[in-house]
């Protein structure tokens, strides 16, 4: 029982890492309708921004944190301008966006390797490594803080999308940019804001990720998992992305803890496919019949 509780905590902790990444990813997906594979690269930059702010600039944690997510917002917008906007302007099919995103992701990873090198870097200790014990279950301090901050960000984001005019403009543009422009929406700005928000979340994810798991050029690769989680939860649905992430985290943990760590990903994958067969658009994805 103690082990089970511990495993649930482990699962939630991994799930919240996935969630933080998946939401940024899903947000961009919901408006651009393509999988932004450069998201992982932006997360990685966030980790580096935070790291260098703390070590080179010797800024306090909060300032470094802010610097990181402002930096990634700008980065995400720049990537959009360079790699996607020209495609958007001639309404290229989504495959082109994906490939462009892959190019961007290869570029981001390797520019780091080529310039500042591939070495692993460790964040200075901010929250302490000790964990909080509840009976026989222990919870990492950083995990807890991360969980809270993610929850706040995600709630804020959902409110922003649902309740504000800009949020509605984002949803409208997500469906059809041309029609949104007809309503007087500056779609260029909407796209910019979406990427800035996605970048902001990436920055937050990056800093936490770096603190938890050190900083290195390939940390973006883990976003593959959050990509899976977002799909599992229902693409384009933000609550879906969170739910999918948490479920994926828990499934993986339970499989590794009770079935087989060797075949963890395989079993988790089979479960995912099983779910998708019954809910072809993910858990929270809208199941609309094709309106003929």
């Amino acid at each position: 029982m103690a082990q089970f509780l511990q495993q649930m905590v482990n699962g939630l902790s991994i799930g919240s890492v996935y969630a933080l990444m998946a939401v940024g990813y899903s947000l961009v997906y919901s408006i651009m309708n393509f999988s932004n594979f450069a998201h992982g690269g932006v997360i990685m930059f966030g980790a580096y921004f935070g790291f260098f702010a703390m070590t080179l600039l010797k800024l306090p944690f909060v300032a470094s944190f802010a610097l990181a997510f402002v930096g990634t917002s700008v980065l995400a917008v720049v990537i959009e301008r360079v790699a996607y906007k020209p495609l958007r302007e001639r309404s290229a099919p989504f495959l082109y966006f994906i490939i462009s995103a892959m190019g961007a992701s290869i570029f981001l990873e390797n520019i780091i390797i080529a310039t500042i090198g591939p070495t692993f870097r460790t964040y200075p200790d901010v929250f302490g490594r000790s964990s909080i014990s509840l009976g026989s279950v222990s919870i990492g301090r950083l995990d807890l803080i991360m969980f809270v901050i993610s929850a706040v960000c995600l709630t804020g984001l959902v409110l922003f999308i649902d309740k504000t005019k800009m949020g509605r403009a984002i949803q409208a543009s997500a469906y059809n940019m041309k029609a949104a422009a007809l309503m007087g929406v500056n779609t260029d700005r909407v796209v910019m804001i979406v990427f800035a928000l996605g970048g902001l979340l990436a920055g937050i994810a990056g800093v936490f990720f770096g603190m938890k798991y050190t900083v290195y050029p390939q940390i973006g690769n883990i976003t593959t998992k959050s990509f899976v989680a977002a799909v599992f939860g229902g693409l384009g649905s933000l609550p879906g992305a969170v739910l999918g992430s948490v479920l994926l985290g828990i499934i993986e943990t339970l499989v590794a803890g009770y079935l087989s760590s060797q075949f963890r990903d395989l079993i988790a994958f089979v479960i995912l496919i099983g779910v998708l067969v019954f809910r072809p658009t993910g858990i929270m994805g809208k199941t609309t019949e094709d309106k003929a």
Binding site: R90, F107, L235, Q262, L266, I273, P280, T281, A292
Partner: protein, 309 residues
């Protein structure tokens, strides 16, 4: 021939076979796969089992590679082809990783440490022969009713259905054929390297194949050929820039997407007929332009362009 150039040519030829298959799936049937390296892995291991363990001839290994990859893809297809767009992507991605994980854990075939000592049967000649066969078969397929049905599925699935096309069946057909191609490519790669390791068939490999297909131009076989050769050589040409190599590669990929909206050869096939047609069209366009100018002139000579009739 210089062993180095020969090696790269061989790799281009091997990549080409995998790319042709993926081109059918992505370029013609409109399905996006992140797991094609998984089919290559299946092909490589099946062929190696035939030649190394069972002592069968190479062509039997290649046939087995195609058959096993096709068979597995059929099973995968049954479970996942009902999924749409990105959901299908994820399923293929998961499948590719799953294959790797199984091979990693399967110590009988070397596990993650790989399987050395596979006979070096792959030669430039047999690659070229298979390339030619691959191109011809694919070209024949896409220009038949079966190929057209796949394209219809890509263009507008619902309309394809009411036009009597069993869309599931044609998606499956595209998947199975493309997996068979990937399997053959895997077999060739294994017998070229004389060593196979699950790591060689990672998602990065799948991604590379997809990049080649799109780089070459969706729905163009000659584009795939060109793409496979260019993108296999490009990283080698970039060796001079050392660790900046992949930085340049990444930028080149973005550049092509932005600069050549439909890939190198999107929607255009390089056949004698098409080249003639192209020039004929150019002539015609020029003639039309001249005609238009004349027409405009005549019109404005009329009465300020309106109110005449």
């Amino acid at each position: 021939m210089d062993a180095y150039i020969e090696g790269i040519l061989m790799l281009s030829g091997i990549n080409l076979i995998a790319v042709l298959g993926l081109s059918l799936l992505t370029g013609f049937a409109g399905l996006f796969s992140f797991g094609h390296a998984g089919f290559m892995a299946i092909g490589a291991y099946s062929a190696a089992i035939c030649t190394k363990l069972l002592g069968l001839p190479f062509f039997a290994g290649i046939a087995a590679a195609a058959a096993v990859a096709a068979g597995v893809s059929w099973l995968i297809g049954r479970a996942t082809l009902k999924l749409k767009g990105d959901y299908f992507c994820i399923a293929t991605l998961g499948f590719g990783e799953a294959i790797r994980l199984i091979l990693d854990n399967f110590q009988g075939l070397g596990g993650a440490r790989g399987w050395p000592g596979i006979p070096p049967h792959t030669t430039l000649l047999n690659i070229l022969i298979l390339d030619v066969i691959g191109v011809v078969l694919l070209a024949n397929l896409v220009r038949s009713r079966h190929g057209r049905n796949m394209i219809a599925v890509r263009e507008e699935e619902l309309a394809a259905k009411v036009a009597g096309i069993d869309t599931f069946r044609y998606k499956m057909l595209a998947l199975v054929i493309s997996a068979a191609y990937a399997g053959v490519a895997g077999a060739l790669l294994g017998h070229y390297m004389t060593f196979i390791q699950p790591k060689m068939f990672s998602m990065v490999k799948s991604t590379e194949l997809t990049i080649i297909v799109i780089f070459g131009g969706l729905g163009s076989i000659s584009g795939s050929v060109l793409g496979a050769v260019v993108l296999t050589f490009l990283p080698e040409l970039l060796r001079a820039v050392d660790k900046w190599r992949l930085v340049v590669y990444g930028l080149a990929v973005i550049g092509i997407m932005i600069g050549r909206p439909r890939g190198l050869m999107g929607g255009f096939e390089l056949t004698p007929k098409s080249i003639r047609a192209h020039f004929a069209r150019r002539r015609e366009e020029r003639a039309i332009k001249a005609g238009q100018a004349a027409e405009d002139e005549a019109f404005s000579g009329g009465e300020d362009g309106k109110g005449g009739l």
